[in-house]
């Protein structure tokens, strides 16, 4: 089975460990192009571990181990240079983490600069374009030389999104991007996610069932390292096939 034509990422029999502890058990799912897939589940169920496998960050931990298959556009990411994989699969972290000593401009431009782009005009264009896509341009266009850390938490998170967009990835992973933010900033990021799916494939980890309902097209429900249920968000939310999923969605567990 080569996977459907619109499958951006196909995961097969994925297992992941920290030392002797198995954090992911035999995960199988496909992420469709230009959709938002939400990874849902209680704390410690392996959501972060899962998306960190996708861009090969997981294996950087000294005691980490990984088995199985992850295909990006039909090609195994384990046969690719990890740097190449991460250029195609960007990531936004739970806590906003702009580079502390860099200006707003440099935070966005750094990915390109360090990969050899020198042309000032091209950099200017990418910085503006990325900040616009991250819905931050209007707020920062007059202070691009200020430190990135001088922004508010919500603005910093949008800066991190702009930073991820600037290197022109095909997939963007979000690990609970709004959990450290106030509700208004969170709504802004949610709107942004929906805008992004026109150009990117989005995977978002969240604790927040309502958030998953608002933004996602597909939802994967994880429980203690296993994928319990995966499907269209509307279908899973209205008609969960598994007892566990229903219990989680109705707040009886979690």
């Amino acid at each position: 089975m080569a996977g459907h034509a619109t499958d951006k990422i196909v995961v097969r029999n994925l297992n992941a460990w920290y030392g002797d502890f198995q954090a992911l058990k035999n995960i199988n799912l496909s992420i469709k192009k230009n959709t938002i897939t939400a990874i849902l589940g209680p704390s410690g169920c392996g959501k972060s571990t899962f998306i960190r496998c996708l861009n090969r960050l997981h294996e950087l931990r000294s005691d980490a181990k990984i088995e199985g298959e992850i295909l990006l556009d039909g090609k195994s990411v384990f046969n690719m240079d990890p740097v190449e994989v991460r250029r195609k699969i960007g990531m936004v972290f739970q806590r906003p983490n702009p580079f502390p000593t860099m200006s707003i401009y440099d935070n966005v431009a750094i990915g390109l600069k360090l990969n050899g782009v020198r042309d000032k005009k091209a950099l200017d264009r990418v910085v503006e374009d990325s900040l616009k896509k991250a819905a931050l341009w209007d707020e920062v266009k007059d202070k691009l030389n200020m430190p990135g850390t001088s922004l508010s938490g919500g603005q910093q998170q949008r800066l991190c999104i702009a930073r991820a967009i600037a290197t022109n990835p095909e997939v963007i992973l979000f690990d609970e991007p709004t959990s450290a933010l106030d509700p208004i900033s969170a709504v802004k990021i949610e709107d942004l996610l929906v805008d992004l799916k026109g150009n990117y494939t989005v995977v978002i980890v969240t604790h927040n069932i309502q958030q998953a309902g608002r933004v996602s097209d597909y939802v994967a429900f994880f429980w203690m390292g296993e994928l319990v249920e995966f499907g269209k968000t509307a279908e899973v939310f209205e008609n969960p096939k598994e007892e566990l999923t229903e219990a989680y969605l109705t707040g009886r567990i979690g």
């Binding site: 580079f99 860099m102 990915g111 930073r163």
Partner: protein, 272 residues
């Protein structure tokens, strides 16, 4: 209640007393150096070479030049060496040699400074003679382990998140280290370097049989050079009152330099 209050008061008095016991000798040293040294600090003191023994006047320009050369050379040798080692220890956790290097570094850090001098003497001086370079090498034996320690701490303070954010942009590991991690740790690294400068600029023992001393200006790094602590040592044990005054003066210069470095480190580099 009363017993409790008595105990509190006793503790307060005890703290104040200990503070005084520590502060008085410290202030005494500073005051004595100031009083005895200030009178020597004439323009001539900074710009002239010393006069022959017993003659009044002259200055310590050669020692100031020597200390500047020694410190600069030492940093030139030890900053790159320490930085590479610290990066290796902190940023390549899978490396096997790590524990061995740590052990070596800790051993070197406990080395008495006179041993660093002997080491440089047998390695360099016996073959090439006394020189600024041999002095700087001896000082580096002391400086490198100190800096490896502070630099490694500085790098470790950079959050893992920052490294992962760099990697997740598809930037190569070594570039993440050199352009992002180092940049983030730079204020702490710089303060470690400055504090090491402050520490080694007053070292005497390692210079006794390496840099050796020189009554004139040095014209190259392969010649013997003077240094402020060496000069203080020689002048202080001499029989001439004028030299005693000069030794105080040189002590004051050294103390002010070290104090300035410490203040810069504290107020300029710690803030971020």
């Amino acid at each position: 209640m009363a017993a409790r209050r008595l105990k509190d008061n006793a503790l307060t008095i005890y703290s104040i007393l200990s503070l005084v016991v520590i502060a008085i000798p410290l202030l005494h040293i500073i005051a004595t150096t100031l009083i005895n040294g200030a009178q020597s600090l004439t323009p001539e003191f900074f710009t002239s070479l010393p006069k022959p023994p017993g003659e009044e006047g002259g200055g310590v320009a050669n020692a100031i030049q020597g200390t500047a050369i020694l410190v600069a050379l030492t940093m030139l040798i030890s900053v790159p060496a320490a930085l590479l080692t610290a990066i290796y220890l902190s940023e390549f956790p899978e490396s096997r040699l790590r524990d061995l290097i740590r052990l070596l570094n800790d051993t070197f850090m406990g080395t008495p400074s006179i041993v660093a001098g002997v080491f440089a003497y047998t390695l360099l001086v016996t073959k090439f003679g006394f020189s600024a370079l041999a002095g700087a090498f001896a000082l580096s034996v002391l400086a490198v382990p100190m800096m490896v320690k502070t630099m490694e701490e500085a790098l470790k303070l950079v959050p893992t998140d920052i490294r992962e954010a760099g990697l997740s942009l598809g930037i190569r590991h070594w570039r993440v280290v050199t352009s992002i991690v180092l940049r983030t740790a730079m204020p702490a690294i710089a303060s470690g370097v400055l504090l090491t400068v402050a520490r080694i600029s007053g070292e005497t023992a390692p210079l006794l049989f390496t840099a050796f001393g020189n009554p004139n200006f040095a014209t190259g790094i392969l010649e013997p050079v003077s240094a402020l602590p060496l000069m203080i040592y020689v002048y202080a044990i001499s029989p001439y009152p004028d030299w005693h005054r000069k030794a105080w003066g040189a002590s004051l210069v050294l103390m002010i330099a070290v104090l300035t470095i410490n203040l810069i480190t504290k107020y300029k580099l710690r803030r971020r």
